[in-house]
Amino acid sequence: MKPTDVPEISGALRAGVRRAEPMVWLSAGAVTLALMLLVGLLFLLASRGFSHFWPQPLILLDNVESKAQLGILLDREPVPYAQDYRLLLHLGGEDFFDSPLVWVEEATLRARSTPQAALAIERRDQGPLFAFAEGVDYGEARLELSDWNVADQVAAIRKVRGTAGRVYLRLASGRPVTLPASDLIEVSSPNAMSGMARIRHAFSALGRFVREAPRRGNVQGGVFPAIVGTVLLVLLMTAIVAPLGVLAAVYLQEYAQRGPLTRMVRIGVNNLAGVPSIVYGVFGLGFFVYGLGGSLDQLFFSDSLPAPTLGAPGLLWAALTMALLTLPVVIVSTEEGLARVPRNLREGSLALGATRAEALFRVVLPAASQAVLTGLILAVARATGEVAPLILVGVAKYAPGLPVSSEFPFLHLDQQFMHLGFYIYDLGFQSPSIETAEGLVFATALLLVLIVLLLNLAAVMLRSRLRNAFGTQELR
């Protein structure tokens, strides 16, 4: 081969490329992207979730074609194939407008303002109402409010709540509306609020979100029953999975004969952690709900058949299914902890005359307790965020009562329950008016993510403490 100039140049180029380390930069790009995704997602959820509670300014649009419209601005986007923008306005009050959402083209606007006197009214049975105050009636006579300032109007209307009175309002179009006091939940004047008032309003809305039950097909109100359902499910599941998981792990690690069979079982258990959650749901529905529940119904509740008592999706079956789903997590984590317990601890206790059971309960399990706890927290974190199996085995779009009550037997294992994750799925997947309920879904999603994030953090911290305490030891 004749030496030419080309290899030298390409050699120099190659050396340059080698020095520039493009792949290192690329992998740095991947890390950056991952971190940006994490921060971006958290920011998205937080901003959208919180803005659900934050009082939104009410905008009054005066349109050339139609009458004045008052509402919350949801979106602004260019009109396709035109040099214009259009606004998406949430008008509220489904009972007064054909559609609560309207697009208004900016070119047709005559005036745009944020009137101080505009009120946002939250109602019990209908969507929000954006209107101006006209008067109020505490049960005796109509009191004119139109000349009052906004703060006094709000105070006067708030006072009517819980009485037999009514509120007189005027929509932006000029149409008068009479609202019975029983329908009134909250009134505010978002445009006239000071900063502190906004914060107070946001916190009170947040409080109601956590405390109250959903209304109007879940598109309004709070998520209290869903929180209770989620917590109860996870508690029940933990109560079931903790003894079973620890038992299985102790069996595999301390009692079972070592050999190919144990190894196969261990591989099987590891693999089960990777079996899709929906498969557990299918098993739960077929085996627990229809199989076990159906047989129990025939044995004990044959009077009420064919209406099922236990043979229908419910809390108990959901908890059992979730326990089965998280079993591998607990087994693997506990086994890891048991393997980390130094051999000399075990041998020491046996040498001192302890039986195997005594060594297990007094020395080995206490030493592995943090691993068990880590496993349980990871299990809880997985179960909290898991929705797919619950769709099949017990969760309901709307459960009329909580699964805990003051009535005997206090804990209603046969009842369906609400769940935060399913709530998101249901609203996102099946709700007809997603635009108006979007804030609620984001707030719920934020709540769920925060819970799972905290649980994961706790597990990570426990795990690192554990590693520092015993160092790393491979599974035998």
């Binding site: 020095r19 998981g245 069996y251 997947f429």
Partner: protein, 700 residues
């Protein structure tokens, strides 16, 4: 495991130790057994699919051919010979003593028509009522019917018959009123050819086939209209018998060679559906079920074949002994019973054929359905189209499952590998301890949240900013390369400049700037590149349709869901490779990337492979993301902008509504079993890789 070495003297302690041992062995073993139970239970639910169809003779009653009345559930009712009996529960007056009959068995309802010399109909509610009612008696003097066919739906009954001269007649009768409309079709087929008339009461029409020609008549209350006619293509041999296919959506034509031809009866011009199917014999009679795609054929010698038209599946092959005249063979609408009226006796056969449509071929192969242009894999458990028969092909679901997982993988793998390499190898240990948990935090997003974000937040954005998303990979790859070049250039100018560049921060700044720039100039770029709308451009230029909830969307959400798992596994493996290995290669003059790529990564390769498999298995089973971010359209299109439905999403969406123990229910269990098997295989291979990795390191 350590055995107790000392002799335990206290009896109580010994007993307690034994009890604990027993409890743990039983309990632990039980928990393990529970896991096996899961697999066994899924198999148990699916197992009935494997059962073959069976035919059994149930009852033989000596009887004359004129003494038959049967119920949909197959119970027989015997009619007396005496012509003038009073109508009561068990004995109906039959105005004729001989001649052709048509019996339609519809559950509790029986329609019986008899012909010659007068036409009479009986509509009876069975059992136990005296609601039997003569529908109408139409005098048909001078007609000796050669064939008689009946079809009824709701309150309409249509009868067709041919007289001795071959002229076809049709009567349409409304049971609620006494309105009768009739039709006489005078055209006769050529010599030797037989004309067949197929009534269709749902559309109140009659299809006449003679030779390879067909003609449709619509029977109106105010007279009948002649509709389109034409030729049935591909019929070379004389036609032996014709019949409606299941649910009247196809026309089945058998020729004298025993070939069965299918024509699409949903369409007016009766297009041919695929090549003919060779039957085991030349059939004289064909019947089909109303609600399932099951057809029956019988030969003059009494051979019986039960099969799925449109698929190669044969369900049953046997013979009906003593069958003399196929015109005396009646099939109940649900296909459970065959009644055979031979000379001097009545035979009732029971066919056990619970899951005819879930044969291996029906589930996975293409089938040609009515109203479709070509054979296709269709998953429509509730039925679609005009005829609305259920279509159970699992292929589109399996396809969608893999499609979603592959698109997720395409996006997750580069990011996970990049992150793992950077965090596990290039990052200082102090920073690693912070960045690793941060990236793993991405796993904390429940998939329902990711699915919701993809389906309801990202989908409209993607529609609007598709150009940006399509250009994003360029930015994500180009920006780091650009920075690398810039850094190199600056180092040439000043060799001491930025010996350790803050890569993450620099890349982040460029990414943010790039995204801001793209979104600001996005509209202009779209206009310049695609002339206004990417979706329109794709449709016009490449013919690529755009679904709002598409594979790209699923891939993005799925990628985010499986990325952290894969990252953790790969990073652990890279970090676990002994530092001495790469230090040695660095000392020999390799660059950092070279020692990573040639020394560390090969050592960690089994872990990388196992991570890929585990990530892929997770993608296969992911439910909520696919459910929320796709339109759940069971398509077989590989395109990135088309929708899909996965096995898991079908199970989650359809199982709560499926009837317990029904075909659909068991099929969804089969879907779960397939998912279980797939993930189990992938995870086991991954586990074996990991174990190999462990042995590799034992050398150090």
């Amino acid at each position: 495991m350590i055995d107790a070495v000392t002799q335990v003297t206290s009896r109580r302690r010994r007993v307690r130790d034994r009890a604990v041992t027993l409890a743990i062995n039983v309990g632990g073993g039980g928990v393990i057994a529970l896991i096996v139970l899961m697999l066994a239970y899924l198999l148990y639910v699916v197992s009935p699919f494997a059962a073959n169809a069976e035919l059994g003779k149930v009852l033989t009653i000596p009887s004359g051919p004129d003494r038959l009345l049967a119920r949909g559930d197959g119970r027989l009712w015997i009619l007396p010979r005496a012509p003038d009996h009073a109508v009561n529960q068990e004995q109906w007056h039959l105005p004729v003593s001989s001649g052709r009959r048509a019996v339609q068995l519809r559950g509790e309802q029986v329609h019986l028509f008899a012909l010659f010399p007068r036409l009479a109909g009986l509509d009876a509610e069975l059992p136990g009522t005296t609601a039997a009612q003569w529908l109408s008696v139409v005098d048909t003097p001078g007609i000796e019917p050669q064939t008689l066919a009946m079809d009824s739906a709701d309150d309409r009954v249509i009868l067709t018959y041919a007289d001795r001269s071959g002229v076809l007649h049709a009567l349409s009768i409304r049971l609620t009123s006494t309105a009768v409309s009739s039709l006489v079709h005078h055209e006769r087929p050529g010599p030797g050819a037989t004309a067949f008339a197929l009534p269709n009461s749902r559309s109140n029409s009659v299809l006449i086939v003679h030779g390879d020609r067909y003609l449709r008549w619509r029977l109106g209350d105010s007279g009948s209209t002649r509709l389109l006619g034409g030729q049935l293509s591909g019929l070379d041999e004389p036609v032996v018998t014709v019949a409606w296919g299941p649910a009247h959506d196809t026309l089945l034509v058998a020729d004298s060679l025993g070939l069965l031809h299918r024509f699409d009866a949903v369409r007016g011009n009766l297009p041919r559906m695929g090549p003919a199917r060779q039957l085991d014999f030349v059939p004289r009679w064909i019947g089909s079920e109303r609600g399932r795609r099951v057809a029956f054929a019988a030969s003059a010698a009494g051979d019986l074949s039960v099969f799925v038209p449109g698929s190669d599946e044969r369900l049953y092959r046997g013979s009906l002994d003593g069958l003399k005249d196929v015109a005396e063979l009646y099939l109940s609408e649900n296909g459970r019973f065959l009644v055979q009226a031979g000379e001097g006796q009545l035979l009732r056969w029971k066919l056990t054929n619970v899951y005819p449509e879930t044969g291996w071929r029906s589930l996975w192969q293409r089938q040609w359905f009515a109203a479709y242009d070509a054979p296709a894999h269709i998953w429509h458990p509730d039925g679609d189209g005009v005829a609305g028969l259920s279509k159970y092909s699992l292929s589109p679901l399996l396809f969608g499952t893999f499609k979603a997982a592959i698109y997720g993988m395409l996006l997750a793998l580069p990011i996970a590998l990049g992150c793992a390499v950077y965090v596990g190898y290039f990052l200082a240990p102090r920073l690693r301890n912070r960045f690793k948990p941060a990236i793993e935090m991405l796993e904390a997003f429940p998939t329902v949240v990711l699915g919701f974000l993809a389906g309801l937040w990202l989908a409209p954005l993607l529609l609007k900013y598709l150009t940006l998303v399509l250009l994003l990979p360029l930015l994500l790859i180009g920006a780091p390369l650009l920075l690398a070049a810039l850094h190199l250039a600056l180092q040439y100018l000043s060799p001491r400049f930025m010996r350790r560049p803050p890569r993450l921060a620099l890349v982040a700044v460029v990414y943010l700037a790039g995204i801001a720039g793209l979104s600001h100039y996005g509209d202009a770029l779209t206009l310049w590149l695609f002339g206004g709308s990417v979706q329109d451009w794709m449709w016009e230029a490449i013919g690529l349709p755009y679904d709002q909830r598409n594979a790209l969307l699923v891939g993005m959400a799925m990628g985010l869901a499986i990325m952290p798992t894969m990252f953790t596994l790969v990073e652990d493996a890279i970090h676990a490779v002994p530092r001495a290995l790469s230090d040695g290669s660095l000392a020999l003059g390799a660059t950092r990337w070279q020692s990573l790529a040639r020394v560390v990564l090969p050592a960690a390769a089994p872990a990388v492979l196992s991570a890929v498999l585990i990530g892929f298995a997770r993608g296969l089973g992911e439910t909520m993301i696919v459910l929320l971010a796709t339109g759940n359209t069971p398509l077989m299109e590989p395109g990135i902008f088309s929708g899909l439905q996965s096995l898991s999403a079908a199970v989650a969406a359809e199982l709560p509504e499926a009837a317990v123990g029904g075909v659909h229910y068991r099929l969804l269990f089969l879907a779960a079993l397939v998912l279980f098997a797939l993930t189990f295989v992938f995870n086991t291979i991954a586990e074996l890789f990991r174990q190999r990795l462990r042995y590799t390191y034992e050398a150090y």
